[in-house]
C-alpha cells in the first residue's frame, strides 16, 4: 500500500495560515506493533482546527477515529502503540516534542476529552465533586475549598439539578445522562482550548442524546472552546459541526465543510454512510409500491494489519473497478475546499476539478 501511494503524487493537505489554527495535525501516523503484524490505526492524517470551530471526524468503528483522538492527548498505550511520525501543534507548539510532564499539564487543561461510555468512565469510588475538583487542583492551583466550590458551579453549568447535593454523590447514584454531564463538567472545568468528544452520545438513551449534544454546543459557544467531535452518526454531524472529515481504515477519505459534504458527497463511503441513516420519509414509503429499503454498506472495515493493496474501501464499494483494487487513489481537491480520495468520484458524482 505504501508503495502504490508513493507512486502517485503526494496530496497537498488543505493549509491555512498557521496563526489562524488553534490545533494543527500534520501527517499523524499511529501504528500498533502486534504479533499479528503492524496495525496502521492512523496512517497519515492531517487536519486543522480553528478557535471555536467544531470539526467532526466520521467513520465506522475501527476506522481510526478514536485512536486519532487518543493520539492528540498522547494517551496511546505504549507498547504496543506508537506515534511514529507527524506533528500535533497546539498554538504552534508541537505536542509530540514535549516531555511527559509538560504533556501532563496540557491534558485536562488545554485539551480535554469526553469518552463514549459514561457508565464506566468515572471512577466508582470517588465522589463526583472530587473528580471535578481533581482537575482544578491539578491545573489551576486552586485550594481544595475553591476547587469544590467550582465543582458545584460546574455541575450547575452542565445543568445537573441540586448540584450541592450531587457533588457529594458517587457515579453509581447518577443516571447515564447525568454521568455524561458530569464528564462534560470535568472536561470543561479548566476551560480548555480544545475539547475532544469521542462518541459522546453513542451510549446514551436516544432521548438524552439530543440534550447532551445541545449542551455541548451551548457550552462551546459560551466558553469559546474548539471541539473535535468523533462520531459515526452523520445526524449528529449535521447539527453541530462546521467541517467534517470522513475516515476509513486509518486514513482520510473525504473532507469538506458540512453543507458541501451533505450536498455533494464525493466518496462512495460517505454516500454509503448517508444512505444508511434511517429516514422517516423512507419508512413511510415502505407502504407504497417500489419500496426503498434502508441501505447498508456491505461487509466490514478490513483488518488494519492486512489492508488490500488498492483503495481500502474497494472490496465493499459498489463502484470499484480494476484500478481501485490495484492502486490507492490520491487525496485531492475535487471542488473548492472539498477533498476526497476516490478514483471514480468525478465520473460518478460529477466532481469538477478545481
Amino acid at each position: 500500500m505504501t508503495t502504490t501511494s508513493a507512486m502517485t503524487p503526494q496530496p497537498v493537505p488543505p493549509k491555512v495560515p498557521a496563526t489562524e489554527n488553534l490545533l494543527e495535525v500534520t501527517d499523524l501516523r499511529t501504528y500498533f506493533f502486534t504479533r499479528q503484524g503492524v496495525v496502521k490505526a492512523v496512517d497519515g492524517v492531517d487536519f486543522a482546527l480553528k478557535p471555536k470551530e467544531t470539526l467532526a471526524i466520521v467513520g465506522e468503528s475501527g476506522c481510526g477515529k478514536s485512536i486519532t483522538a487518543l493520539s492528540l492527548l498522547r494517551l496511546i498505550p505504549v507498547p504496543p502503540g506508537r506515534i511514529i511520525s507527524g506533528s500535533i501543534k497546539l498554538d504552534g507548539v508541537d505536542l509530540l516534542g514535549l516531555g511527559e510532564e509538560e504533556m501532563r499539564r496540557i491534558r485536562g487543561n488545554d485539551i480535554s476529552m469526553i469518552f463514549q461510555e459514561p457508565m464506566t468512565s468515572l471512577n466508582p469510588v470517588m465522589t463526583i465533586g472530587r473528580q471535578i475538583a481533581e482537575v482544578l487542583l491539578l491545573h489551576q492551583g486552586m485550594s481544595t475549598k475553591e476547587a469544590y466550590a467550582r465543582a458545584v458551579e460546574m455541575l450547575r453549568i452542565v445543568k445537573i439539578p441540586e448540584p450541592e447535593q450531587r457533588v457529594k454523590e458517587y457515579p453509581h447514584q447518577l443516571s447515564g445522562g447525568m454521568r455524561q454531564r458530569a464528564m462534560i463538567a470535568i472536561a470543561l472545568a479548566c476551560n480548555p482550548k480544545v475539547l475532544i468528544a469521542d462518541e459522546p452520545t453513542t451510549a446514551l438513551d436516544v432521548t438524552i442524546q439530543a440534550q447532551i449534544l445541545n449542551l455541548i454546543v451551548e457550552l462551546q459557544e459560551r466558553l469559546g472552546t474548539a471541539v473535535v467531535l468523533i462520531t459515526h452518526d452523520l445526524g449528529v454531524v449535521a447539527e453541530t459541526a462546521q467541517r467534517v472529515i470522513v475516515m476509513y481504515a486509518g486514513r482520510k477519505v473525504e473532507e469538506a465543510d458540512v453543507g458541501e459534504l451533505f450536498a455533494r458527497p464525493m466518496h462512495p463511503y460517505t454516500r454509503g454512510l448517508m444512505a444508511s441513516i434511517p429516514r422517516l420519509d423512507l419508512m413511510r414509503g415502505e407502504e407504497k409500491e417500489g419500496v426503498e429499503r434502508l441501505q447498508e454498506i456491505p461487509g466490514i472495515v478490513p483488518a488494519l494489519s492486512a489492508l488490500p493493496p488498492g483503495c481500502a474501501f474497494a472490496p465493499r464499494c459498489p463502484h470499484a473497478d480494476d484500478r481501485c483494487h490495484a492502486e490507492y487513489p490520491p487525496y485531492e481537491q475535487k471542488r473548492s475546499g472539498h477533498w476526497a480520495a476516490c478514483w471514480r468520484s468525478d465520473e460518478l458524482f460529477g466532481g469538477v476539478n478545481a
Binding site: L73, L75, R104, R105, I106, R107, G108, N109, S112, M113, F115, E117, T120, S121, L122, N123, P124, V125, M126, T127, E134, V135, L138, H139, Y170, H172, M183, I186
Partner: protein
Amino acid sequence: MGAYMIRRFLLMILTLFGMSVLIFVMLRIVPGNIVDILFDSAGMVNPDDKKRLEEELGLDKPIVQQYVTWITSMMKGDFGYSYVSEKPALDEILPRIPVTAKLAALALFFSVLFGVPLGVISAVRQNTSLDYFLRVVSLSGLSLPSFWLGLLILMAFVQYTGWIPIYSDQPRGFWHELWLLSIPAAAVGFRASALIMRLTRSSMLEVLRQDYIRTARAKGATKQSVNYDHALRNAVLPVVTIIGIEAAFLIGGLIVTETVFNIPGVARFLVEAIRWRDYPIVQSLVMLIAVVTVVVNFLVDMAYVVLDPRIKYES
C-alpha cells in the same frame, strides 16, 4: 445498616456455637484423655484411682452433659481449670496473649506493608524484569512453609552470624521486643505478603484496563495519582478480603513459628495443651481463636462500606 449489623451479630453467635460443638466433640473423639495419659506416664495402674480421677474431672459423665456444663459455666465467665497446672484456664491463657497478639499484628502489618506496594509496582511494571523477579519471590513465599523458613532464618542469622538474638523471656523495652519479634513475624508474614502481593498485582492489572483510568490520564493526573488514588482504591477491595482470611491462617502459622523460635505465646501453649488433652485450655483457646477470626471478618465486611461506596448493607 442497623438491621444488617444485628443479623450479622446473630450469625456470629451461631458460628461460635457451631465452633464450640465441633471442638468439643473432636477433642473427645481423639483417643485418650488426661487421665489415660497421666496413668500411662506415671505408671499408675489402680483402676479405682483412675475412676476416682475421672469422676473428679467430670469425664465420666455423658458427653452432652459435659458440653452443657462447659457452655453454661463459660457463660458465667468460668473457663474451668487446667488439668495440668490446676490453675484457672484464664490465668494460664491471658498472660500468653500479648506476645502472640503482637506477633500476629506485626506479621499482618509486614504482609500488608510489603504485599500491597510490591503488588502495585509489579502490576505497573508488568512484564519487566522487576515484575518477573517479584513474581518469583512471591511464588516462593507461597511455596515455603513458614516453619522451614523460620529454621533457615534461625540457622543463618542466629547460629552463623549471630545478628539476631534468640527470643528471651524478658525483652528490654518496646524497641528491643519489636526487634526480637520482627524476624519470626517476617517468617510468618512472608506467605501472607506473597499472597497479598499476587492478588494486588492481578487486581491492579484488571483495574488499570478500566475506562476511568483512561479518564484519569486524560485529566492530566500524575502517574502516582493514577496508580495509587485512582487504581489502587479500586483494586484493594479483593485484597481486603484476603487480609481477613489470612489473619485466620496466620494463627496456624504462629503455632509452628512460636515453637521454632521458642516464643512463649498462646499458639505454642495450644499445642502443649492438645498433647496433654487439657480440655479446658484447648476449648478456651480454640474459642478465643474463633472469636478473633469472626470479629476480623466482620471488620473486613465493615471496611467494604468505607472503601466501596457502591456497597450498602440493607435488608
